[in-house]
């Protein structure tokens, strides 16, 4: 059984309340940091821990913190990204719902390191009830001297505010989030300047994911070096994975990144295998934006080595034969699922969520959606596949924010690995409305269907 650092206490009764959380050892990291460490020393521990951002991009957190500009007399902010709107990702929700004080504790310690005296949680609008949970936790922390003025008598002041979004995926992109937090339309900003220099209200700002900030608690409690011993290579510590789709046990799992994808899917400790006696066809291992992989490439890398649940191994082979850890939204498809329809569903999502600022994303996402619907409804032609490929290629890398890439990648990967399923739809316009292409050769040992279209 792998080590748990974030969710080990999540199921203790009433851990949501301050008294229980505190009795179980909560808020030790705040005491340690504020009373015995300098802000820079806290940052140093986070650097040593090798912690990488859990929001999707996997950027080293300690490095991000050290980029924060520190001009005299200008406030700095920590903003926690709790927008969690990526299809397939629901880990932050779990953490905030069950053990909200872990986030608040992580925020106090992190804000101290960054020199922020006001910090924000920007939470997706649909998580309305979690706002109440967080606000109660904040109030309790305040009542017990962990927030407000002169925390623990150390002279450090901090207030935490919770702000609800209004239901836009794009507001999870850090600069769109800041715009929205400022009360404006949530359009991503053009970078540079980066938030570390000009963020919230033009001041230096760090934006981190909920899980990232929660992980600061065990890092400070146990020390960065200890944390770095867990995991493998540059994938240190533990990672929350929200698993969903055609598996027996959907849910949020904390893994230590040393297990294989195969073990994660089939062991009873985690997903418990494919549900209803079906077979694994494909999987999106890191949230809807990352490339989909057929079963064979998911379980083994192109080199034939077992694929592991960590940043490096999931990305092994690049986009040609690999995928990404992303936000840890693990979506499993069995042999009754249609990759064309699935890709269409994602394309529809991205079209709907594009902010519309830049032309490739605004126009391209809608175009891809229409073509995919056409193919899915048996009206496609072979040239549509190449057209889709060309459109995604012209979006990727040419937009203001990564939503354009996020919309392009799933389409590219679906064509790259499942081109025969697309062709089957086109060649069988009647059948494709009633039947399913099924597993085909996607789990075959030898077949590695890589197409450089």
């Amino acid at each position: 059984m792998g080590r748990k650092l974030l969710l080990d206490k999540a199921h203790i009764e009433n851990i949501r309340l301050y008294d229980v959380y505190r009795r179980e050892g909560g808020y030790r990291s705040v005491e340690k940091a504020l009373k015995t460490m300098t802000p820079d020393a806290v940052t140093e521990e986070v650097k040593k821990s090798g912690l990488r951002g859990r929001g999707g991009a996997g950027f080293p957190t300690g490095m991000k913190w050290s980029f924060l500009a520190k001009p005299e007399g200008v406030p700095r902010y920590l903003v926690v990204n709790a927008d969690e709107s990526e299809p397939g990702t629901f880990k932050d929700r779990y953490l905030m719902e069950f053990i909200p004080h872990l986030l608040i504790e992580g925020m106090i310690t992190s804000s101290f390191a960054l020199g922020a005296s006001r910090s924000y949680i920007y939470i997706r609008g649909e998580y309305a009830w979690i706002v109440d949970i967080l606000e109660q936790a904040i109030q309790e922390a305040k009542n017990n001297g962990f927030l407000g003025k002169n925390i623990l008598g150390t002279g450090y002041d901090l207030e935490i505010y919770v702000q609800r979004g209004a239901g836009a995926y794009i507001c999870g992109e850090e600069t769109a989030l800041l715009e929205s937090l400022e009360g404006k339309r949530g359009n991503p900003r053009i970078k540079p300047p980066f938030p570390a220099v000009k963020g919230l209200w033009g001041c230096p700002t760090v934006v981190n994911n909920v899980e990232t900030i929660a992980a600061v608690v065990p890092i400070i409690n146990e020390g960065g070096d200890e944390y770095a011993k867990i995991g493998v290579g540059k994938s240190t510590g533990t990672k929350l994975i929200s698993a969903c789709g055609n598996i027996k046990q959907q849910g949020v799992y904390e893994i230590d990144m040393t297990i294989s994808v195969e073990e994660f899917i089939y062991s009873d400790e985690y997903c418990g295998g494919i549900a209803n006696g079906r077979q694994l066809k494909a999987c999106i291992p890191g949230g809807s934006s990352v490339p989909i992989l057929p079963a064979n490439l998911l379980l083994k890398t192109a080199k034939g080595e077992p694929r592991m649940m960590n940043y490096e191994s999931l990305a092994d082979g690049g986009f040609a034969t690999g995928s990404m850890m992303g936000s840890g939204g693990f979506i499993v498809l069995d042999d009754t699922q249609c990759v064309v329809k699935h890709t269409y569903t994602l394309a529809r999502f991205y079209r709907h969520e594009s902010c519309g600022q830049c032309s490739p994303c605004r126009e391209g996402t809608g175009w891809m959606e229409k073509i995919l619907l056409k193919i899915d409804s048996g009206k496609g032609s072979m040239s549509d596949i190449d057209l889709l490929w060309d459109i995604q290629r012209k979006i990727e890398g040419n937009t203001i924010c990564p939503l354009g890439d996020a919309a392009a990648w799933p389409v590219a990967a679906a064509i790259r690995h499942f081109r025969d399923e697309f062709e089957w739809h086109i060649n069988n316009p009647e059948d494709c409305l009633r039947k399913n292409y099924g597993l085909a050769g996607y789990a075959d040992e030898l077949k590695i269907p890589v197409l450089d279209a």
Binding site: G356, S359, N398
Partner: protein, 374 residues
Amino acid sequence: MADEVKQEAPVNFKVTIDNITIEVAPGTTVLNAARQIGGDVTPPAMCYYSKLEGSGGKCRTCLVEIAAGSEKDPRPMPKLMASCRTTVMDGMVVKNITSERVQDARAGVVEFLLLNHPLDCPICDQAGECHLQDLGYDHGKEGTRYEFKRRTFEKEDIGPFIQLHMTRCILCYRCTYVADQLTDKRVHGILDRGDHAEISTYISKAIDNDFSGNMIDVCPVGALTDKTFRFKNRVWFTKPVDAHRDCDKCCGKVTLWNRGDEVLRVTARKDTWGEVQSYDNKPGWICNTCRFDKKKTSDWVIEGVTNINRHSVIAQNKYNGLVVPKETITDVMGGRDPKLLMDIHDVSDVNDPSIDLSLIEGPATSKTFEKKEE
């Protein structure tokens, strides 16, 4: 001299664009550096507007390849960059027309911009001075690969003088910056998002502000047009003359678009890049009184014929015999033919390339074209 202030010599940055090296002041964007060189190496810009703070970065037509970041760090940048929002570094090497990647991406952007565009140039007041039309001619393909129904919107009034034809809008955001930066009470902006986003006035509030008319001038397409000029004439029929009047609200320097002695339209004066001209580094925005109310020649002191040196359809003969569409997309257009990609001279007899407007004495009148109009 003892009290001579030791001034640091202004250090300029060297930047090479398409193999042409120039020196520019630090802080200059790649686009503005390219404009200093001029000609073909200047990327097209559909959303950037030098006089509107914060504009640019959105349309992606100005993407360029940064082949070397700077003297100190000569690594190339992995992604194409929006030249309007990328500042030059000393020793930067930029590829625009010499980069295949750029040409490919730009053709993609042009296709995206035209995807949902109605291509109704024959009935659009902007035709002849439309930046999208120019862009289509310069970088577009002969046909579209889009075979779905195009997005349409209802026409809307933005105040008494401005017509919004959202279907033509390319969401460059320029007009919202005008609303933000030139008018005091902003009631106009962008609603909704993605390909369903639209420019609108909040709850159909009319815009009545002295400077709102400048939205028309900044709009690169025919989405915002002057209601007092609507359907009065084609721009290539009219004769532009520079004129001024004493105005207590604005600079009073304008271009009159005349037909005979009649003033059909008043606009701000435009520079080579199609932007409002600056005087003493101040943008020459004009007020609504000058634009909409002063429609008599006697209201104005005429300075002389405007020299249109903008690279545009209106600079006649430029597109003579250029592109003829191969495929028709009449079904997509609901039975209508697309006109944008055709040779404008074929479509319109009145714009006969054998008649050089700039050689005509005085304003062009209908008599100028009589031979053609049987």
